[in-house]
């Protein structure tokens, strides 16, 4: 039978694919653990920073920084965090779907939308989707550094300060557990509500230099750290989504191989049977 050889090559090629997917699964599992550690490591900084900002805001109730002031919204900015690479299941498309829904809602309310993308998948998406991309950062690698994000965040914050956009949101995948990623859209600027926490003590600080300048630097860094956190968390999501997707691919390849093996055995058996019956028929004819 002609099919046997073809089936054999097909099985071999699927086996190769399976090797690749199972290797990717293991790599993703290892990277995921590191990404989760990285995510944990960002926590103390943001917490400490929130405390200091809380103290400062408490000590200076009369001074409201632009990053804390709500204003009428006519144009909003989204910072969209995505992965750089594909093969991670529905991770990016789930986020984009949620984002598009949100954008439509804004547009229906007559609000215009700008974007800033982190990760090449988001950039590719907005190339197709349309919309003004103000800044982008991509190819951050597995261990992103905050300096890779400073520029992108600054573009958005500058636009906010100059009144070009009135609100900044951040869209990223929140890490729930290995199996679940939660597409999240949060308001980044103006900083919402966090400074109104109850403070048991507060002190009259000495400021060097002026309190406003200190607060300015502090808030910029705080926002950057939030964006960094989102990027790191999205990275953990990417790895876990990839791990799950690759596991599914490996399993599917296994099933496919089993089925093909069965077909191959049948074909081989049929060929043998046919050959025998030909020989027997030939012998009988002699």
């Amino acid at each position: 039978m002609a099919g046997a050889k073809e089936i054999r090559t097909k099985i071999a090629s699927i086996k190769n694919t399976q090797k690749i997917t199972s290797a990717m699964e293991m790599v993703a599992a290892a990277k995921m653990r590191k990404a989760q550690d990285r995510k944990e490591a960002t926590r103390p900084y943001a917490e400490k920073m929130r405390n200091v900002i809380g103290h400062l805001a408490h000590a200076h109730p009369e001074y409201v920084h632009t990053f804390m002031k709500e204003r009428d919204v006519s144009r909003v900015g989204y910072i969209v965090v995505s992965s750089d690479r594909g093969l991670c299941g529905g991770l990016n498309s789930n986020l984009f779907r949620k984002l598009v829904k949100d954008i439509r809602k804004q547009q229906e309310a007559g609000i215009q939308v700008d974007f800033c993308t982190i990760g090449s998948k988001a950039l590719g998406f907005f190339k197709r989707f349309g919309g003004k991309v103000r800044a982008q950062a991509s190819h951050l690698g597995d261990a992103p550094h905050i300096e890779q994000l400073i520029g992108t965040v600054k573009v958005m914050l500058d636009a906010y300060e100059q009144g070009e956009i009135d609100r900044i949101y951040i869209a990223y995948n929140g890490f729930v557990n290995t199996m679940t990623q939660n597409p999240t859209i949060e308001q980044l600027v103006p900083i919402a509500g966090e400074t109104e926490q109850e403070l048991k003590h507060h002190w009259d600080y000495i400021y060097e230099p002026e309190s406003k300048e200190v607060l300015d630097g502090l808030l910029t860094r705080y926002i950057e750290s939030l964006v960094y956190q989102a990027v790191v968390e999205n990275g953990a999501c990417e790895q876990s989504a990839r791990m799950v997707a690759m596991k599914a691919a490996t399993d599917n390849a296994g099933n496919l191989i089993d089925e093909l093996q069965l077909v191959y055995n049948k074909a081989r058996q049929a060929a043998i049977t046919q050959e025998i019956s030909e020989i027997v028929a030939g012998a009988a004819a002699v």
Binding site: T42, V52, L123, G151, I206, Y207, E208, V214, R221
Partner: protein, 140 residues
Amino acid sequence: MAMTIHVDIVSAEGAIHSGQAEMVYAPGEMGELGIAPRHTPLVTRLKPGDVRVDSGKGEMEHFYVSGGILEVQPHVVTVLADTAIRAKDIDEASALEAKRKAEEALAGQKEDFEYAKAQAELAEAVAQLRAIEKLRKTKS
């Protein structure tokens, strides 16, 4: 026992140090600071330089920070350290870079990519050199 104060040094990418100290030295923007326990509450920006923590056991621990913010509360000193060298022109350059990248990627052009990239890198390197030079001056 000598009086101690709790010191936390954290950066956006992770906690760097946490422990008790008899004295903390930090490069404040308005001059070098020495913080002993019961220092008055203070918030200041830091210049790039060395943060030294004297744990009182005759050991001095050094931490390099490329800037940041120092907060002193009655019982806690917090250093919010920058991991990147921050200066207005470096920030500006990276902002321009991010903008340019977006425009380029959307337009799909690649012609003077190398040149512009090299230029931005040069600007960044020069700015970093300047920061390092300043750092040296403050040290000597």
